[in-house]
Structure formats: structure tokens, C-alpha cells
Symmetry: C2
Subunit: 86 residues, 2 copies
């Protein structure tokens, strides 16, 4: 098993640079970073008094919430597929 090559991608999120290391393509890393940046700006516009740490934590809270909703959807789709196939 050969190891996948790792990319180092520098991204800008909320005015701060981050070097992200991973096997994902640079285009994917950039997309993820832009989504985080956008969500932080969106939450900031609704709560301008939050500091950056709180803003980033609430961005995570928001994303984990969306993640769990999507996970429910995956489970429903898998159930439906199983029902059709059985």
C-alpha cells in the first residue's frame, strides 16, 4: 500500500492564514476554507459583538448541526434503498 502524497495549501480564513496539510486536492481545501470564512462572516453580521474565538466555535456548532441533519438524511435514504432492494 503506497502512501498518498500530501498537499500543503495556504488559505485565508477571516483574515488569518492557515496551512492545511492533507491528501485532499487543493481545490477541495480552498472550497472548505471559503465555506468556513463565509459562515463566520454570516454569523458575525448577525452578532457583531462576538470575538473571533466565539465566532469560530459557533461556526462549528452550526456546521455540526447541519452535519447531523445530513446524517439523518443518509440514514433515511439507506433505509429506503434497503426496503426497495429487499
Amino acid at each position: 500500500m503506497s502512501e498518498q502524497p500530501k498537499n500543503r495549501t495556504t488559505v485565508d480564513i477571516y483574515g488569518q492564514q492557515y496551512v492545511i496539510v492533507g491528501t485532499e486536492p487543493t481545490s477541495h481545501i480552498r472550497l472548505v476554507a471559503s465555506m468556513v470564512d463565509e459562515k463566520m462572516r454570516e454569523i458575525n453580521s448577525m452578532n457583531p459583538s462576538l470575538d473571533t474565538t466565539k465566532l469560530a466555535v459557533l461556526t462549528s456548532v452550526n456546521t455540526v448541526h447541519e452535519y447531523l441533519k445530513l446524517k439523518d438524511q443518509v440514514e433515511q435514504l439507506e433505509k429506503e434503498l434497503k426496503r426497495i432492494k429487499d
Copy 2:
């Protein structure tokens, strides 16, 4: 259309308290908060020199990445269902 009642839930994430307001049940909010807290501690254990803001931003990056993977999975399942039904 009646408005859904909003819950105010106080959660602790990485040693800081947050009041989350939303229509989701308190149990769901607590689950989301515990997942964010856990992920922040996991990333911190791998990168102990990061400050809390960077930690929180990288937690968001990580979560958005997982979200996009799940979204791909939903699209694949929907395609498969459509193919079977057509």
C-alpha cells in the same frame, strides 16, 4: 402558521459557556456542543501550540470537510434510488 417555540440552552464548549437559541430540542443542542468540544480537544492534542481561535477555526474546517463528504454520499444515494425507481 404558528411560530415554533425557541429554546435557550447553555452549553460548555472548551471551557467557555455559550447560550444557544433555537427551535431544536435541548438534547440535540447538547449533542452538537459535545461533538464540537470533543473535536476541539482532539485537534488540540495533535497541535498543542495552537491558540483557541485557530483551534476553533480548524475545527470548523474539519467539520465542513466531513459535511461535504456526507453531502457527496447523499448525492450518490439519491442517484442510486433514482436509477432503481426509473
